[in-house]
Every structure is written in C-alpha cells, then in structure tokens.
C-alpha cells in the first residue's frame, strides 16, 4: 500500500470526522434559496424560519458563515446524555447502542456551534464521561480469556472511532499472543478445556 506506515492501520480521527460529516442534521437557515443540486444530492429549499435537513458538512460551513442555526440532534441534550451515561455504567458486560458517530459529531458541534447548544460545558463533560466509561470497559475486555488466548475479542456495539483507536494495538497484540499460544492448542487439541 502506498500510505506511510503509521497510516496503514486504519483511519485517523480527522478522516473519521470527515466521514462522520456525511450524517444528516437539521438546520434553520437565515437566508432564502430554492432547492440546490450539489454533487452529493439535492438539498433545500431554504426558507427561514422552517428547518431543513442537510449533511453535517454543509451545516457547519453555513454556520461558520453565520447563515444558519443548527438544531441540536436529539441525543445531544443534557438529560439524554445523563441517562445514557447511567445505562452505560450499569451495563458491565457489554456496550450500549449509541449513535454511531456520537464522538465526532459531538466534538464538531461543540467546536463550531456551542451557542446553539444548551449548556455546552456540561455536554462536553458528559460526553467525555461516556467515552471514558466505554474505554474502561474496553480495557477490561482486553484482559479477558479470549484475548489472552489470542482468539477473539467481543466488540459488540463499539463505534467506528473506538474501533479505529483500538485496532493497531489489538492487531499487534493478538498476533503476539497467537504466536505464544498455538503449540499448546496443537498439543491439547481443539475443544480442550480453556485454561
């Protein structure tokens, strides 16, 4: 592959953010325009004060030029995040189902449009808490049986960013653990008790 070594393992957070900006979000434009056709599709018409759905990248670009107001997505509210956090803490064995791009979207919205969000400081800290709880679970999971034997890791419900974060380390570690393991498995045969 032509990419440099450190990029070969996966996507960087910037690239992931770029991909995340494809998601649709609703805005309230402050200008009027009919439907427009851009490469990725048809958006509009833009009629204030009613809201329109546009991709996130367009919303951010308009917001930077002060031409719209972003409507916060439903999950980016203080109470909702607090509930999600609570559930995440209670569920010790797995990961809860969260919006797929919540980390990237949250960050980008907090950077570009904090004035459209309610209590952005609290949102920031709640998002960080959520991320850290999940990271703690990942760390615990890395010490599980499956990983130690180099065979599998249960990853249901992780978001792409967390996966990419984990991937370089995990792939290498699994490789090493596998080289340590196979003799034992060959000796005991498959299906033998796992120690």
């Amino acid at each position: 592959m032509a990419l440099p070594k450190h990029l070969q393992h996966g996507l960087t957070p910037d690239e992931l953010t770029f991909l995340a900006e494809e998601e649709v979000i609703s805005i309230v434009p402050s200008f009027s325009m009919t439907k427009i056709r851009v490469l990725s599709g048809v958006y509009g018409p833009f009629v204030p004060p009613s809201s329109t759905s546009v991709p996130l990248w367009m919303a951010l670009s308009l917001k930077r030029k002060r031409k719209c107001r972003i409507v916060a997505p439903e999950w980016l509210q203080v109470e909702r995040l607090q509930a999600l956090l609570k559930e995440e803490k209670e569920n010790q064995d797995g990961f809860n189902k969260l919006p797929r791009r919540f980390i990237e979207t949250g960050k980008v919205l907090l950077d570009v449009a904090p004035d459209d969000l309610h209590l952005p400081a609290q949102l920031r800290s709640l998002l960080k808490d959520l991320r850290e709880v999940r990271q703690a679970k990942i760390r615990l999971g890395l010490q599980s049986e499956g990983v130690m034997q180099g065979s599998y890791l249960q990853m249901n419900g992780l978001t792409p960013l967390e996966l990419m974060e984990l991937k370089p380390f995990l792939v290498k570690a699994m490789g090493v653990l596998q080289t340590l393991e196979p003799r034992k498995e060959e000796r005991d045969g498959y299906g033998a008790s796992q120690t």
Binding site: S30, K65, R66, K67, P114, A121, R124
Partner: protein
C-alpha cells in the same frame, strides 16, 4: 464622489448608505469572477482603529466568500510604494482605505485604472473637501448607474458632514464659478468644471514646488490645503453676501468663500467616528453582527477615548449605542463589579458592561503600581516626587487598604477589598482632588484562558504590540516575581514566542540565556541584516507589528503576554516623564510649551510617534494642574497652552516632534492645529522636515535644524 451616510431611519430614499457601498463591492466581485485575490485590495493604517476595522471588514468578506488582500501601511511614503504596486495588477477592481487618506486629494493621488472603485473610511478630520463634494465622472464606467452617476470614490461619512453645509456651498461656488479667462460660457457645468480643474492643478503645483523640502519627495504631493481659488487679483472690493445667487462671483465673494474654506482647514485636526464603529454599523445593518465584531468595534472607540481623541460626552453617546448592542447579543447581562472578575466558564465569550477605573491596567498589575502610573492620579498627587508617593500611600491607608495588600498582584488581593474599592474611592478620593475616577466601559471573558479582560486593557495591549512588539528591546517583569522580595523577580527580554524574526533581531538577542522560559524558545537569531537602510527597517517593524497584533485578536495567550509588554511600556513612559518633570526641562514659550528629549535610558522607544504622543499626553495630564496654578499666579492666562515634545533619534539623525493640544479640564479635547503650524514652520525656517505620518501633528526634523524650526513655530500664533 458619493458621500454615503451611516444607515439610519432618516435617510432620504436616494441617499446612499453603507449597505449600498458594500453591495456594490460584492456585486463587482461576483461579476469579475473571482479569478484571484487581486480583486479587492485593502490599505489599512497601522493603528488600533485601523486594525479593528480591518478585522471586522475581513470577517464580513470571509462570510461572503470575497477574497481580498490586506496591506498595513505606516506612512505616506509606504502608501505611494504600495499604491503603485497595487495598480500594476490588472485585476484590481476595488481599493479600500481604512484609517488613512482623508486629507489627500484622492482623485489626483490615486489615478485609478478603469473599472476600479475606491472606498475610504477614515476617522481623521477634516476631510479634504474635494473628496466630499467633488465629482469624478468616468464616462467609460458601466457601473455608473449604481452610484447614480456619482463616480468612483466612495467616502463613508459618519453623519457629521451634514453640518458642513455652508462650507459645501462655498466650495461649490468656488469650484463651479465661471472661469475668469475671458470665455463667457456659463451654461455647461461640466465644461466649467473641467476648466476649473485644469486651473486648479497649477496653483497646487506651484504650491508644492514652493515648499522646497529637501528630505523627502513625499511632502510636496500631499499638502492638504486645497487652494481651490486662484489668488485674488487686486480689485476694488464691495461688501457682498457670498451666498447670494449670481452668475459671476465678485472678488469679494470669492474671497469670502475662500476664507470660509481656509477657516475650515485651519481649525485643526480632530476625529470623527472610529473606523471600526463605521464598519460595525455596516455589519449590523447586514444583520451579521456578533460578539467578536462588537468587541472590535468597542475597542476602536475605547482607543479613541483613552488617547484623548474624543471627549467624554461623545464617548458616552457611543457607549449607549454599544450598550444596546451588548444587551442584544448577550442575554445574561449581570453587571460586573469593578473589582471582581467573573467565574470562568470555558465557553464564555460574552461581553459585559463594567465600570472602568482610570488606573491603567490595574487588574493585571498591583493596585499601587497602577495608581502610580496613571496620568490622572499622577497629576493630582504629584507622584514623581517622594511627597507625592507619600500622598498616594496616605490615600490608600485612608481607604483602609494596607500597603501590603496594595502591592500584591491585583488578582491576589482580598476579595472584600476589591468589592469595596469603588465605594471607598468615591468617598475618599475627592479629598485629594481626584474625582470622576470611573467611566463606563465593557469587559469580555475568554473562557478559562482569561476570565475577564476590560476594553481599556485590551486597547493598551494592542497599542503596545503595534508600537514595540518587534524592533525594540523591551524588558518585562517575570510574573509573580516581585512579591518574593528584592531577590526574586527581575526581568526578562520580551520575545514573541516561537516566531522567526524578520532578521532585525540583533536587538532581541536574549543576554540572559535561559530566561525566556515563559516566552518559549524563539530562536533569537542574531542574523541582523547588515545592509538595512533605515527606511526599510522602519517599514518592516510597523508591518510586522501590525500582523502580530492581528494574531493577538484571536490568540488569547498572545493577548495576555501583550499586557506585560504594555506594562513595561507604561513604566518606561512614566520614568521618562517623571525625569522630565523633575528636571523641569519643559520651557514655556509664548505660544506653547516645549520639551526636548536628548538622553535617557529609554530614548530609543520615543523614536516611535505613538509612544512619543503618549508621553506628551501623560505630561500634559500630569502637569496640567501645576501649570494652571502657575498661570494663575502670574495672571498671564496661559493655562491651556499646547505642548510640543521633541525626541532625538540618534540613529537617523533626526528629531521626532509631536504637538498636542490639551483641553483645560481632564477629558476635554480640542482641535489640533499643529499640522498646519508645523508645515509653515518648516517652510519658513527652511528646515529639512518630513511629514510622513498620517497624523499631521507629527513631523520629523533634521538634527541641526531643530532650533530654527522651533523658533519659527514659536513666532507664529497658533
């Protein structure tokens, strides 16, 4: 030349306002296809007002996807160079002048290529009348319809031009009067105008040739006095009303008009609405105002007030307007007590109203130092003497503030002291003759980085950056050092962290090795360019400083550092000022007071006009009372003499001379007549003098000619 007015409810339907000008810029950009960034060129004067206005304008352009080029300009000679460079580029279709050029006869100074329009927004007054009322008809220009046939020079007025009605009539009368050379054609105005234009050129040309300055090519071209009348021929004079309509003007009428116009110019320089505020008004009408732009506009106006350019009454009027805007844009408005900061909040970028005290930078210094360095307090208490210092300590003691508290850095003072500070001051200060210590202003928070920055402090920071960010060796205090006692603290050299110097950094080489811990390792590269000619170096520092200050608008850390720089600049000014007052080296001549600076540790600093003006202002404020008392004693009635300061610049072998006219009371401003006076004195004394700055009250005189210059100045009555 369309004279456009600020947007307001009372504009007539045909009157153009800022929005029309802006829309014309936008439409020209869209039409020309945006092929490069050469289309819109902005020349910006290198002062705080220009900087702020440029920031606002650039933000508007960015939001509209207009590409532009921004060039900071420090002096007339630089303007010429840059102007020629700009016109070489074919794509240019809009030229914008911010905070410079109001006195230039624009149509002659800027020979615009086809299709190019020029906008000028400037706070310097008086306007050159041909800019306001002249017509510049360009037959080829297809855009003429949008300006109503007005022409290519857009002058952004601030609404005060309506009061110049009489002057306007005089000017038009002189401009359009039937020519004297024998032809009887009076019907076609255009023809007359053309003839008059031609004849005008000659008197102007004659004027400039007669000046005969040796030092610079520039001055001859920018004599602001438009002699729009031919010299009067001796004829019989009849008293006649100049405004009476008549086909041909008599000598007397022409003289009367001429006098009126001369009086307009000779009244002196003053300041109109700040450029930043003008551009902000545009932004509000376009409904794109937000906190950042509002903050810049506030800084522009506060700068005018702090440097004594506008009077208190005018400032308060602007303050009211700004207050409305602040309330509109910031919903949680809790007025901030003078002493107390707000609890920091990471997303907080809001502006609040606050009462500001007249101590410079007191929130970032110790209270004692701040009071020591403020010109107002200094004057009343006589700080430069020991007796004065004792008085100050007495004042603080009377208010119940222990000296130890007052010499603590302000943020570390007890909160209850900060809370009671304003009331105590109100109560105790009048005994010492200090009244009116507070004025309304605004402060802004920047998240956790800087929990509250007042407008005045920000202005100080920016001015300091514009004056001395690069090119001078400045020492600043280590933070928190002094409180440990004599052995701690100390100073380190000022260094813009992490920035490559433009090569003139021999002066910034850090002598005490690792002292730049806080400023970061900016390789102070000693590669000085040996072949620097003085002029190039001058331009470089002004331009570099402008860009550094530009960055500071966004970069809070740089802003914080600039406050340290401002503090040391202040200390230097005060040191010099106190030594002057101590040595009583201010001589009172008949028509003004004069002081020459020949030596001193900080003399190099005062080769910058802005710093020298500040020194002059400080001296004026500080010594006002003493002079008033002396004048009363002598019964000569010369209380309010203007003040001229000259500083020797050894490197360039010239004296930098600055003249200011102070008001009788603190906070009064009067028009500054030194521009004209300096020119005339330079002429008469034959001194080699250079009027390069946009401020006409600053002039550079060759080293040996100073005494002759001052004598001639002295002999004129101002």
């Amino acid at each position: 030349m369309p004279l456009i007015n600020p947007p307001g409810p009372d504009l007539g339907p045909s009157a153009l306002s800022y929005v029309d000008a802006y829309n014309s810029i936008v439409s020209r950009v869209r039409r020309s296809g945006g092929s490069g960034s050469g289309g819109v060129v902005i020349f910006c004067g290198a002062d705080v007002d220009g900087l702020m206005a440029a920031r606002i304008l650039v933000a508007l352009f960015k939001q509209d996807d207009i590409s532009y080029r921004l060039l900071p300009i420090g002096s007339y000679s630089e303007l010429e160079v840059k102007r020629d460079q700009a016109f070489e580029n074919d794509e240019i279709h809009t030229l914008i002048l911010l905070s410079l050029g109001s006195l230039l006869p624009l149509s002659q100074y800027f020979t615009l290529p086809r299709k190019c329009h020029l906008h000028i927004i400037d706070a310097h007054r008086p306007w050159n009348l041909s800019n306001l009322y002249g017509l510049d008809l360009d037959m080829d220009d297809e855009d003429d319809e949008e300006t109503g046939g007005g022409g290519r020079f857009w002058v952004w007025g601030d609404g005060e031009e309506a009061s110049l009605d009489k002057v306007k009539k005089s000017w038009e009368a002189l401009e359009y009067e039937p020519s004297d050379s024998g032809s009887d054609t009076e019907d076609d105005e255009e023809e007359e105008e053309e003839e008059d234009d031609e004849e005008e050129e000659d008197p102007e040309g004659d004027n400039s040739d007669a000046e005969g300055d040796s030092n610079a090519p520039g001055p001859s071209r920018k004599r602001p006095r438009t002699n729009s009348a031919r010299p009067p021929k001796a004829k019989k004079r009849k008293p006649i009303d100049p405004d009476a309509p008549g086909r041909r003007l008599t000598r007397a009428a022409r003289d009367a008009h001429h006098d009126r116009i001369q009086r307009y110019y000779e009244a002196g320089t003053s300041w109109g609405m700040s450029v930043a505020q003008c551009v902000y008004l545009l932004a509000t009408v376009l409904e794109r105002a937000d906190n950042d732009l509002l903050w810049f506009a506030i800084l522009g106006t506060t700068h005018q007030y702090i440097s004594n350019r506008i009077a208190m009454s005018q400032y308060e009027r602007y303050h009211e307007l700004f207050l409305d805007e602040v309330v509109r844009l910031n919903h949680e408005v809790t007025p901030v007590g003078v002493g107390i900061g707000r609890t920091p909040n990471p997303d907080d970028r809001s502006i609040q109203r606050s009462e500001e005290m007249r101590f410079t930078l007191f929130r970032h210094w110790t209270l004692y130092e701040a009071m020591l360095h403020s010109s107002y307090v200094a004057g009343r208490l006589g700080i430069w003497k020991d007796r004065g210092k004792k008085k100050l300590q007495g004042l603080l003691a009377k208010m119940g503030f222990s000296l130890q508290q007052c010499t603590q850095a302000y943020p570390h003072m007890d909160t209850h002291l900060k809370r009671i500070l304003p009331e105590k001051l109100e109560a105790v200060a009048p005994d010492y003759g200090l009244v009116d210590l507070q004025y309304p202003s605004f402060s802004r928070s920047f998240g956790f980085a800087l929990s509250s920055l007042s407008a005045a402090d920000a202005v100080e920071g920016f001015s300091a950056l514009l004056e001395v960010a690069k090119g001078q060796r400045m020492e600043i205090e280590r933070e928190g050092g002094r409180n440990g006692g004599e052995w701690f603290g100390g100073t380190r050299a000022w260094n813009i962290g992490g920035r490559e110097a433009a090569g003139e950094d021999k002066e910034n080489v850090n002598p005490n090795g690792g002292a730049g811990a806080g400023a970061g390792g900016a390789g102070a590269d000693g590669r000085g360019k040996e072949t620097q000619d003085g002029a190039k170096k001058e331009q470089n520092w002004q331009v570099t400083n402008f860009w550094i200050a530009w960055d500071a608008c966004e970069d809070v850390a740089l802003m914080r550092n600039s406050l340290l720089l401002a503090k040391s600049l202040h200390s230097a000014i005060i040191r010099q000022g106190s030594s002057i007052l101590d040595k009583s080296s201010i001589r009172a001549l008949r028509t003004f007071r004069f002081c020459a600076l020949k030596e001193g540790p900080d003399l190099r600093l005062f080769s910058h006009p802005a710093t020298l003006s500040r020194l002059a202002l400080w001296l004026m404020d500080a010594a006002r009372d003493r002079w008033a008392a002396k004048a009363d004693k002598n019964k000569k009635g010369e209380k309010d003499l203007p003040f001229v300061v000259a500083a020797l610049d050894e490197e360039r072998g010239t004296w930098l001379v600055v003249g200011i006219t102070g008001g009788m009371e603190f906070g009064n401003v009067r028009k500054n007549k030194f521009g004209l006076a300096f020119q005339q004195a330079a002429e008469e004394s034959g001194a080699g003098a250079k009027h390069d700055m946009f401020e006409t009250s600053v002039v550079e005189v060759a080293k040996d000619d100073l005494t002759a210059f001052v004598e001639c100045l002295h002999l004129r009555s101002i």
